[in-house]
Each structure stands twice: as structure tokens, then as C-alpha cells.
């Protein structure tokens, strides 16, 4: 059953009670929250996602709540709880919805050890995966949001989920996070897209989330084969330059960008090596979104 088909009272009761179990690709997430902004945000952004029964054994489980202290009467805050304990110090209350996304990312990064996880955006075309690993600020989410409105399928804007044989990638297909200036860039690029409400003044500035298309959500369980690993670097006004990169060098960067490669030991390393072996690896500098899209289209057509 899709979330939008769940009757509203049932949806509210699950979220405020035993938890709403959302299927996001290979991970099922149990989300609990009594906060209206979280409820409305999920209803909007996850409308097309499949919902599992509350009795399901989920992969990750979290609650977004107001911290139970006196301060709530002075300045309301919000925190997230995993395994019965708050994870970060509380955030300002207006950040509840982005916190939900960060919380899900944290739970996946911390608890998942049956896939290799790389901090990267992943999109697919013709069954082949384009992996865009990058430190924050390199424009991977913006690129990802732009590409999924130009014929590429969304796997994830945050996490490349690689099988431990390194032979295929999965995506969670969760909402794409956009920050600050990239919000307007994507609004202009994809006027038909559905956006969640913006949260101002977060640790990352203004943040909002883009709803994934129903078609991509419906295909969330389709894996993709590794094909390209591209390290993007955005520079104002720069021309697009795609340069092949030595694989060993890229491997080291990817290990740095992985949430769990070190933790998985040999299995992690082998999976990463297989992923790199099966991909063509590039550095990519660009200054204009349209140039980038053209370059990736040419890659896909090769």
C-alpha cells in the first residue's frame, strides 16, 4: 500500500504510536513523531512510498520529538532518538523536517553493515549507475536534482548502497535535499517539481527537500550496474571538463567518503575495489548545470 492510500486517521495514529514503517529501497524505516511539521512533511514528500505493516521488523527505527525538558516552554526544540536515547543535542524547532532526513541518514550510516555505503548521489540510466561522490558543498545534490529531471532515475542523493560483491547498486529514492542557492537553481530548472517547506537557519543554511517522482519511487527496488564514478567540483563560470582519473587514487577517496567501509573490514574493501573496477572514473569540473547534463548525456549514450 502506498502512503497516499493510507487513510489519514490511520496514518496519524501510526506515526504518533507504534510507528509508520516506510519502505525506502533496501531499508525499511520506522518513524515515530507527534510533531505536526513532520507529519505534514512525510505526507507530502513520501506520498508515493510503500508503507509496511507496523509489526514489520524494520532496518532502522527513530523518533523525532520535542525534548522532554522545561526549556520547551521557553524556546521549543526538536531532537531525534534512536535506540531509546537522543543522538545529537537538540535543534531549533523549525528544523524538525530536515532533522527527520538527517536522522534517517544517521541510522543508515551507523547501523547498516550488509551493504557498502558511500556518501554519494547516485542516478541511473539504461540500467547503469552514475555515482557522484563528494564532500558537502561540491554540488552533488544539485547535480542529482537536475539530472533526475532530465531522464535519469533517482537512486539517492546521499548514499550509494552497494552490494558486498560490488556488482550492483541500490537506491533509497528518498527526497533530495537542496540548500541555499541551489534551491532557486532547481526551481528554475524543474518548475514542475514538488518541494517541501524550507527550514531556515539550519547548520547547513536554508534546507528544503524535493519530492521524488512517482515513477522513480515505483522503481525503487530496481538495482543498477556500476558504470561511472564521477567526482564533481563546481566552480562559478568554469567550463565543463571531464578528465579520467587513476582508479587506485579514486579508491582511496571513495574509502574516505564511505560510512562503513572501514567497519566492514575486508568485505568493505573488496566491495569498494569491485565497484571501482567495474566503473570508469572521472574528475569533473563545471560551472553551468546545462553543461553538466550534456556531458552526462554523452556518457550515457556511449
Amino acid at each position: 500500500m502506498r502512503l497516499s492510500e493510507l487513510p489519514a486517521p490511520e496514518f496519524d495514529a501510526r506515526l504518533a504510536g507504534e510507528g509508520l514503517c516506510l519502505r525506502t529501497g533496501p531499508f525499511t524505516a520506522r518513524v515515530c513523531s507527534a510533531i505536526a511539521a513532520v507529519r505534514e512533511g512525510i505526507r507530502l514528500l513520501y506520498a508515493d512510498f510503500p508503507v509496511a505493516e507496523s509489526g514489520t521488523c524494520c532496518d532502522i527505527s527513530l523518533e523525532v520529538r520535542r525534548p522532554p525538558n522545561l526549556r520547551r516552554w521557553l524556546r521549543p526544540q526538536v531532537e531525534f532518538v534512536a535506540d531509546g536515547a537522543p543522538v545529537y543535542e537538540p535543534f531549533a524547532f523549525n528544523q524538525a523536517l530536515p532533522l527527520l532526513e538527517w536522522a534517517m541518514n544517521w541510522c543508515i550510516a551507523t547501523h547498516v553493515n550488509h551493504y557498502l555505503l558511500v556518501h554519494a548521489a547516485v542516478v541511473e540510466r539504461g540500467g547503469r549507475a552514475l555515482v557522484l561522490p563528494a564532500p558537502p558543498g561540491s554540488g552533488k545534490s544539485t547535480l542529482c536534482a537536475a539530472l533526475v529531471h532530465r531522464g535519469w532515475r533517482l537512486l539517492s542523493d546521499e548514499n550509494a548502497v552497494v552490494t558486498l560483491d560490488g556488482a550492483s547498486l541500490f537506491g533509497t529514492c528518498r527526497p533530495v535535499s537542496l540548500k541555499n542557492r541551489s534551491i532557486d537553481v532547481i526551481r528554475a530548472h524543474a518548475p514542475q517539481a514538488v518541494f517541501g517547506p524550507p527550514a531556515h537557519g539550519t547548520p547547513k543554511g536554508t534546507v528544503l527537500h524535493l519530492r521524488p517522482s512517482a515513477e522513480h519511487v515505483a522503481r525503487m527496488d530496481e538495482p543498477a550496474l556500476p558504470a561511472w564514478v564521477v567526482f564533481p567540483r563546481w566552480q562559478p563560470g568554469a567550463d565543463a571538463v571531464l578528465a579520467e582519473r587513476p582508479k587506485a587514487d579514486a579508491l582511496i577517496d571513495l574509502v574516505d567518503q564511505s560510512f562503513n567501509c572501514a567497519r566492514l573490514g575486508r568485505s568493505g574493501f573488496d566491495a569498494m575495489a569491485a565497484l571501482v573496477d567495474a566503473s570508469r572514473v572521472y574528475d569533473f569540473g563545471y560551472g553551468r548545470l546545462d553543461d553538466a547534463i550534456a556531458v552526462f548525456d554523452r556518457l550515457a549514450d556511449q
Binding site: E18, T28, R30, S54, G55, T56, C57, C58, D59, S61, R75, Q77, D83, G84, A85, Y88, E89, P90, F91, A92, L99, W102, N105, W106, I108, A109, T110, H111, V112, N113, H114, P136, G201, T202, P203, K204, S258, F259, N260, A262, R263, L264, G265, S267, G268
Partner: protein, 372 residues
């Protein structure tokens, strides 16, 4: 029904746990809290549970087996580094707890989530050890004068050390309980009986009876029972393992009496018997019973610990959990320090915590990137 302590039952008996999907999810969550996730994974393998559990739980536990292997390798590597730093020291370097279990291949090593490495060295060698470790990259964090004094004078260890490159933590002790504690033990008496670990020079481990007593003292005077069930399982494993050697139990009873730690030993044995139904062999029972605290105190502790050893998880909490945990937290300080030190110490800690909380902004500066 997903509430309650579902974790403990997984370690009692040999039946495959009969759990629903969501209960498996809760068990895993409680296991992570209790630092028993790796151990649960090992148990699932040993008892062949994988065929009958939900996929999500199986994936999670199988993943933990990989992580456990990595952590074990990291601990062995860390021990190699320590070996190089301390080679030729001319005095015994005794490994405690997790590091001892893995070096001496003792049963609690299996599935263990290794953390800090704990060492015991002769008190008069602390300065030399500190200097050698500093030379090899282990540095202490900057402490204020109070904390420095807290560790060096009142506690039984150097302030915690961290390796500058690897970020790994190391605690160097000169005995197993603070010199101010009710159960103070002269480290020299432990070192006398320590045994070299074959092939692991210069590392030693405590004598079997002392390993058990250390574990019991540690469990009973810790203020934080977050890993209490883990410690009790360790004790159960150790007793099972060493108990096969003839003469172990009488030695344990005599040693507990000689070191003045009969009370925590009996408390641990009471909990073991409550949970696993395993008791000391008949011929030693009397000599162990004699070491117990007076009946009312023993009864009270038995009941407080029964609550405190449940996983520290909201779904396992009962009506009295908070009260019991607070009582035991205060008691642990009571055991470790005289009242005229505890009261200022706890007040100072509370004041610092409050001050930190008041200073705290809404996390405006720190990024929320998910840490591995």
C-alpha cells in the same frame, strides 16, 4: 507486544527466541544499547537462529559479525603497537577486560564490542609507562587541576590516553579499584599472581580468580549499568570456563576473602543464579555464602540489580527503573569515595553539566553530517 526486556531472554536457555518481527527489531535495539549486539550475532550463529528470523534482523546480525571481526583485528593491531611501545620495560604489563579476553583467548572475547584498552602496571612504574606511551603517540587530554587530581590521587589510573594518529583510547591503572574505595585492593597483590600470556610477551593477564573478581568488582561499583548485562555474561562465561579446572572455586572463595571483595562476588553470583540458574558447586557454597553482605542488604541489592541489569532502553523500563538507577549511581560513588569527597564531586559535575547546557546554542555551528 513489543515492550519489556526482550534481550535477556535471548541469552538464557537454549531455545530459539520466539519473537515477532517488531520484537526482533526491539531486541536488536536493546542489544545495541547494552553493547551486546555482536554477542547476540554470535549466539545467533552458534544456536542456528538465522533460518527463522526476519530478513532485516538477519542482515543486521550478519553485518555485525563483519564489524566484530574488524574490531577484533583493530584490537590485535593496537596490542601490537603497545607491545612495541612497551617492549623491554622490565615489569609486567597486565591486560585487563576485553584486551585480556582477546589476548588470552578467553570465551568473553567472542562477539565482544571492543572499546578502550585497559592496562594494569606496578604503581611505581606509572611514570615510566606514561613516558613510554607518550613517546609512541599516546597523549592525555588537557585536564584542569581538579580532574587531574581526581584521576591521579583519588582514582586508580592515569587520565585517559588517546593515540594521536589512530584516536584509540587507553586506560592505565595501578589497581582495579580506586584507593579511596570500600573495596580497595593493592595492585601489587594482583601483579604477584599475574600470568604471562604465552607468545604475547610482554603481556600478562590476571590469575583466573582475579579476572573473575575484577569483573565482579567492576560490575558492582560501576555507576552506569548500561553494559551491566554484558559484564554479567562475561562473569558467567569466565566461571564456566575456569570452573572446569579443579581447585578453581575454592581458590576463588579464598581469594575473595583475602582481598576483601566477597560482597561483590556474592552479588554477582546471586545475579548469575537468578538469570541462568547456575550456582557454585556444592562443596564451595558454604565458604562463599560466608562472604555475603548481611541478609537485608543482600536482599536489597539483589532486587535493585535485577532492575538495573535490564537493558537501558525505554521499552524495557519499568515504573521503578529511574529510581533504581539513580540509587545505584549514587551508591557507586559512595563505594568509591568517602562522603566528604563525593558530595562536592557530584555537585561539581552537576554544576558543570548545567553550565554547559546553558551555554549551548541550538547547534548553530556544528554540522549534522552522519558520522560513521
Amino acid at each position: 507486544m513489543s515492550r519489556g526486556d526482550l534481550l535477556t531472554a535471548c541469552f538464557v536457555g537454549t531455545d530459539r527466541p520466539a519473537l515477532t518481527g517488531v520484537q526482533w527489531e526491539v531486541v536488536l535495539s536493546q542489544a545495541r544499547r547494552a553493547r551486546l549486539a555482536g554477542r547476540l550475532a554470535r549466539r545467533a550463529v552458534e544456536q542456528d537462529w538465522f533460518a527463522t528470523m526476519p530478513d532485516a534482523a538477519r542482515h543486521h546480525l550478519q553485518g555485525l559479525l563483519r564489524v566484530e571481526q574488524t574490531r577484533r583485528n583493530q584490537t590485535l593491531w593496537e596490542l601490537d603497537c603497545l607491545r612495541r611501545a612497551l617492549r623491554g620495560a622490565g615489569f609486567p604489563i597486565v591486560l585487563l577486560k576485553g584486551a585480556a579476553y582477546v589476548a588470552a583467548a578467553l570465551p568473553p572475547a567472542r562477539g565482544r564490542q571492543f572499546g578502550d584498552i585497559d592496562l594494569l602496571v606496578p604503581r611505581e612504574c606509572l611514570r615510566e609507562v606514561e613516558a613510554r606511551l607518550l613517546g609512541a603517540g599516546w597523549v592525555g587530554e588537557k585536564l584542569d587541576a581538579y580532574d587531574e587530581r581526581y584521576y591521579r590521587d583519588w582514582m586508580h589510573e592515569l587520565p585517559p590516553l588517546t593515540h594521536v594518529e589512530r584516536g584509540t583510547a587507553l586506560d592505565v591503572h595501578h589497581t582495579i579499584a580506586p584507593p579511596t574505595s570500600r573495596w580497595k585492593i593493592d595492585g601489587a597483590r594482583l601483579l604477584d599472581r599475574a600470568r604471562e600470556v604465552p607468545g604475547e610477551e610482554p603481556f600478562f593477564v590476571l590469575a583466573p580468580e582475579d579476572i573473575v573478581l575484577h569483573s565482579a568488582v567492576h560490575l558492582m561499583q560501576e555507576g552506569d549499568f548500561g553494559a551491566g548485562l554484558r559484564d554479567l555474561l562475561d562473569i558467567d562465561d569466565l566461571l564456566d570456563h575456569f570452573g572446569r579446572e579443579t581447585g578453581f572455586w575454592p581458590t576463588l572463595a579464598a581469594r575473595a576473602e583475602a582481598l576483601g571483595v566477597g560482597v561483590p562476588l556474592v552479588q554477582a553470583l546471586d545475579q548469575r543464579s537468578r538469570l541462568f540458574g547456575r550456582r557454585p558447586p556444592g562443596e564451595c557454597r558454604d565458604s562463599i555464602e560466608r562472604l555475603a553482605a548481611p541478609a537485608p542488604r543482600r536482599w536489597l541489592m539483589r532486587h535493585l540489580l535485577a532492575v538495573a541489569l535490564r537493558p537501558d532502553h525505554p521499552q524495557a523500563d519499568g515504573a521503578t527503573t529511574t529510581l533504581v538507577r539513580t540509587t545505584l549511581y549514587v551508591r557507586s560513588h559512595w563505594l568509591r569515595m568517602p562522603w566528604y569527597r563525593i558530595v562536592p564531586h557530584l555537585l561539581r559535575k552537576a554544576a558543570l553539566r548545567t553550565a554547559a547546557r546553558l551555554r549551548r546554542p541550538d547547534r548553530a555551528e556544528a554540522g549534522p553530517a552522519p558520522g560513521p
